[in-house]
Symmetry: C3
Subunit: 120 residues, 3 copies
Amino acid sequence: MQNEKINFLKTYLSLYIDHTTVLEDLNQPDSKYVLLDVRNAPATIKKDQIKGAIAMPAKDLSAHLTELDKSKTYVVYDWTAGTTLGKEALLTLLSAGFEACELSCALEGWKGMRLPVETI
Amino acid sequence: MQNEKINFLKTYLSLYIDHTTVLEDLNQPDSKYVLLDVRNAPATIKKDQIKGAIAMPAKDLSAHLTELDKSKTYVVYDWTAGTTLGKEALLTLLSAGFEACELSCALEGWKGMRLPVETI
Amino acid sequence: MQNEKINFLKTYLSLYIDHTTVLEDLNQPDSKYVLLDVRNAPATIKKDQIKGAIAMPAKDLSAHLTELDKSKTYVVYDWTAGTTLGKEALLTLLSAGFEACELSCALEGWKGMRLPVETI
């Protein structure tokens, strides 16, 4: 049972990336990560997003895969960690052969740490 | 590793149903889904519930399985997405041969979207 | 697919322990569980912790494994259920051969139930 737990945790954790790693990379000239804001809400509801993120609602993602870059790693996020939208987007990206992970703690955690956002 | 991630995400997401799908179904004359409110709190603490839900505390679920209908799909929910009570109820239902899933974002998400609730 | 869901849920739930079980055990003279507060924040940010917990930031855990007791079961917790820090600590502990699980609903849930905390 311990091995099953360990394998489960390894796979689970491999789906996530923490905000520190993302933020440090985004400050580099040739950053590897691209943030995708997969919230389905309109801009009037979203109001702001993580600085430098691309708005890519999960419901539209499949139709926009050809615009994405296979040399990048996409970091998806939704409002909070409690939703399943980020994992839906992640499944779409991984199934299409992209490198992708979910931002640990989502937008809520990013804002809670007072990390950079921008008005949209 | 990508295949493991994809399989993990597929199984994870198969456990959930989103509020839109549930709400549309509940508005049909012959709805397929039945909401089970599995919170263990007494009614005085719960105060309200999703409109049309059946109060079925997770701690009592095993004793009430014979009252459930195998032609329905049960949608369980707890207070928030962060608890494990919904998944405990889900395991009980699936192990007993019922179709069941967990409401994505739980009661908190339902109320956040201002979807219909009722006083209890 | 039902078997995959059931196995997934069993493994997922085996990672967690609920606050009632922990609290009852901690009230025994020879308790089995030891709470590890794995938050990485300094004490000035944390302010309080679960009563009797040991402060063991996840970032320092690997360096302190030799101080832990293989006859105990370690219960890790972070601020909320939405973070991945608890699961990172859990993976470290299980991989090193310790018995360990994560506190369901984390510190947030413990405080929400008004269970005992202590100033640090």
